[in-house]
């Protein structure tokens, strides 16, 4: 009987822990897929300079962008709030944001690749907090990352 009560009491924690572990696994899969796609789109060079310095014969150019929205899970939130007591690097969020940023850049590159572009100049990356975390600092953060730039299509 006590065991049953204990189970009912602990069930939200078990759920958070279980889902957090699934999240870590999905993160691992996502990282693998990012590495794979980055390899595929390696040929498209990106720079945040305003001109390209490789003397490309430009035929056409267009704006392309990619964006992604990510949220942390409750397990990460728990670890991050522990971090705010002792201070230091919040590794779990670093991974999350790096993932989001790379995904946004990849989507931008994919859009450029669809237009047969050779390089992307003047790349701008912007991160903004949306949702509850912007007003309530304790809420689960939700972050949008957008990457945009001008794709150059060469005339060869």
């Amino acid at each position: 009987m006590i065991g049953l009560y204990l189970l009912i009491f602990l069930s939200p924690f078990i759920l958070v822990l279980f889902c957090g572990l699934i999240g870590i696994f999905l993160e691992y899969l996502h990282k693998k897929s990012i590495l794979k796609r980055e390899k595929l789109l390696e040929t498209i060079k990106t720079t945040n300079l305003k001109r390209d310095h490789s003397n490309l014969e430009i035929e056409d150019s267009c704006l392309c962008r990619g964006s992604t929205t990510v949220a942390s899970d409750y397990l990460k939130l728990f670890f991050a709030s522990l971090r705010t007591i002792f201070g230091g690097q919040v590794r779990s969020y670093e991974i999350l944001l790096e993932r989001a940023r790379r995904e946004a850049i990849l989507r931008m590159k994919a859009e450029a690749a669809a237009k047969k572009a050779d390089m992307i100049i003047n790349v701008r990356i912007q991160t903004s907090t949306i949702g509850n975390a912007s007003s309530n600092k304790n809420a689960n953060p939700m972050v949008e990352v957008i990457a945009y730039g001008t794709a150059l299509i060469s005339s060869k």
């Binding site: 996502h30 899970d73 409750y74 912007q126």
Partner: protein
């Protein structure tokens, strides 16, 4: 999005010359998420990672903001917009403003 207006986020148009600068054009769009999406996102918060629904929502909103900017530029008689910038800010809980701005220009072919 219609493509008869040229967009770029550099000050010049690569491979073309700009004949006339017409001035600032802008477009915005404020989107709120609906309750269904919020519940789904709440569930997704257990696992974390990408929220596809929101990515789509914000992307659509940004398309709309861009379209408004293009309409603005067309009214001025422009055929291109240079130095386009995107900005995002959250206005209230559960709503975000997507803002796009740039300079409307008339460009011609080089040489």
């Amino acid at each position: 999005m219609d493509k008869d207006i040229y967009l770029t986020n550099v000050e010049t148009i690569p491979g073309k010359t700009i004949d006339k600068y017409l001035g600032l054009v802008q477009g915005n769009s404020i989107r709120a998420k609906h309750i269904g999406r919020d519940i789904m996102a709440g569930l997704k918060n257990l696992v974390g990672g990408e929220l596809k629904g929101y990515t789509e929502l914000l992307s659509d909103a940004r398309d709309e903001a861009t379209q408004r900017m293009i309409d603005d530029a067309k009214k001025m008689g422009a055929n291109g917009i240079v130095n386009v910038r995107f900005a995002t800010s959250s206005v209230m809980q559960g709503a975000a403003e997507l803002f796009v701005y740039g300079t409307a220009v008339i460009y011609g072919e080089t040489e």
